[in-house]
């Protein structure tokens, strides 16, 4: 499901320097060095050992389950954000889009006194429409995606607070916990299952599913080839007939789809939504993708890397609590880790390219 190599067959003998002239494969360590997520994997392993030492309760199954859950909620968004970044674009509106998606779902169901699945469906359409708006504005205006999605971010922030206040009178939505279909929706978006004595949230399945899908798309489909190309050299891609605009719009739709899943999880974990939630999360998703090896300039990265980046965030977030430190240090650690991981990635890539 989560294949990491691009080669279909393993190398005949690792590290045979000059044998068969043309059929030679790079040795396994060499090929691993060429993978974008290597830095993140090393970082995640180091961090895991670190927290296992400093926090006594970190290695308990219950704690690990909390860590994986935290990672999955970030990872659901970080994976499509990584694809978007490989495609050479940014999205600053993701954090508030998640909240927006949850708000739409909640308000539609509550105001229409309808089955919650009506709200879920309407929310999907509206959230995808926001993604379409971002993508369409980008290819039409040719403005940087930073500006366009900054605009969307600010507008959605305003809408989230403003509309909720107009409709509900407060900044929190009314509970939809007793409405038809709530239980079913919760089992799809926010259920917890006991697997061998460990509590696993359904978000972990969504996360792994999205990861598998994204990896499949990136490495094994035409669209994946186009994503790398439009991020790496859009003009070259256009010149050989790649549909650059369609690819970019598709990437924004992917991000919106994940925001919808995250939003429904947020709603059905509880039954109310704080309309001010989500601000700042967009940077966490981007940071997870960057830690995972995505280049800010596009054309390079992997979905697996972003998932590992999300895991690093989950570990840090909960590890600090288990180590009984002040949780306010979380952001400091994240920033430091972002810098370290990026430097490590740059160094690894340089080494990998210098000696083919």
């Amino acid at each position: 499901m989560t294949e990491t190599t691009t080669a279909p067959t393993p190398p005949p003998a690792a590290g045979r320097p000059e044998g068969d002239d043309r059929l030679i494969r790079r040795s396994l360590p060499r090929r691993l060095l060429g993978r974008p997520e290597l830095g993140a994997v090393i970082g995640a392993a180091a961090l895991f050992v670190f927290f296992a030492i400093v926090a006594d309760s970190f290695l308990k199954l219950g704690s690990l389950s909390t860590v994986v859950y935290a990672s999955s909620t970030i990872g659901i968004m970080a994976v499509p954000v990584a694809l978007l970044m490989i495609g050479g674009e940014f999205d600053l509106s993701t954090g508030v889009l998640v909240t927006f998606s949850a708000l739409v779902s909640s308000q539609v169901s509550y105001q229409l006194t309808a089955n919650v699945w009506v709200g879920v469906g309407v929310s999907l359409l509206v959230t995808l429409a926001v993604g379409l708006f971002n993508g369409f504005m980008l290819v039409r205006t040719k403005l940087p995606s930073f500006i366009i999605t900054l605009g969307t971010f600010l507008m959605l922030t305003g809408i989230n607070l403003g509309l909720t206040k107009v409709i509900s009178g407060t900044v929190t939505t009314r509970s939809i916990g007793d409405m038809d279909g709530f239980g079913a929706a919760r089992s799809v978006f926010a259920a917890r299952y006991e697997v061998g004595g460990v509590s696993v949230n359904v978000t972990v399945l969504w996360w792994l599913g999205l990861l598998a899908l994204a990896t499949w798309i990136l490495l094994r489909t035409r669209a994946g080839n186009w994503i790398f190309a439009v991020g790496g050299a859009p003009e070259a891609a256009r010149a050989v007939g790649v549909p650059v605009n369609r690819t970019k719009i598709g990437l924004y739709l992917g991000v919106a789809l994940a925001a919808w899943i995250s939003g429904q999880h947020l709603l059905f974990s509880y039954d109310v939504i704080q309309s001010s939630e989500g601000i700042g999360n967009e940077l966490i998703y981007i940071a997870a993708a960057v830690i995972g090896g995505c280049l800010l300039t596009g054309g390079y990265g992997s979905a697996i890397g972003a998932a590992v980046g999300a895991f690093i965030f989950g570990m840090t977030n909960k590890g600090i609590v288990f180590a009984q430190w002040d949780p306010n240090w979380f952001k400091f650690f994240l920033g430091a880790m972002l810098l370290l991981a990026t430097l490590l990635n740059a160094w690894i890539r340089k080494r990998a390219e210098a000696t083919p």
């Binding site: 790079r26 090929r31 035409r222 186009w226 190309a229 070259a236 010149a239 280049l295 054309g299």
Partner: protein, 266 residues
Amino acid sequence: MNDRAPLLELERVSKLYGNIRALTDVSLAADSGEVTCVLGDNGAGKSTLIKIISGLHRHDGGTYRLDGTELRLGSPREALDRGIATVYQDLAVVPLMPVWRNFFLGSEPVKGRGPLRRLDVATMRATTRSALARMGIELRDVDQPIGTLSGGERQCVAIARAVHFGARVLVLDEPTAALGVKQAGVVLRYVAAARDAGLAVVLITHNPHHAHLVGDRFVLLKRGTMAGSHRADEITLDELTRQMAGGAELAELGHELRRGDPTDAA
């Protein structure tokens, strides 16, 4: 061969950008198995000409014929579909992608159906290797990012790609600019290989030495107009160089730059 229309023919083609005449009455012919060189200094209109041939821009006047039928191209994709492939100097490839992914970019083969439709990776790798080998290009590893190849090698891969995808007209934009002598020689060898494979090659260059080595026809551009059109047997390298550089100007420049005679400089 003289009786029928050439494969690609431009007749008195013009292009305006607003009120700037980028190209006026330029004619050019390219036939399969031949190399047509377009020579000109910076600003002579070479880029405009290439953009018209490759479908990035439409011409404003004159006729553009392929196989004797007139066309107006709407997009690079349309040109590609008609067998006109263009290799641009700086945007031929996506540097961070492996050679085999670059080779098939925009025309990837797939296998399977429905949700299992996927890239035929094994075929892509094998075909890349064999197509490059057929053009005489030896690569250690088709998995390496194409950006790790030298500029000459990258041009060669792009040329091999055009040949493999059945291009009939190959347009090369300054393939030897920014290359060393040896590298340029390698690229010219592949230009000849493409010609021998039966393609009509249009080679845009500002280097008359390179042009004269492989060219069958020469079209000289100057400030957006035709400054001359010759067949290879009608013109020597010296004459080509002289015409291109604007002979008299070059002689004067040489005179001006000569050392040790201060009176001349004044």
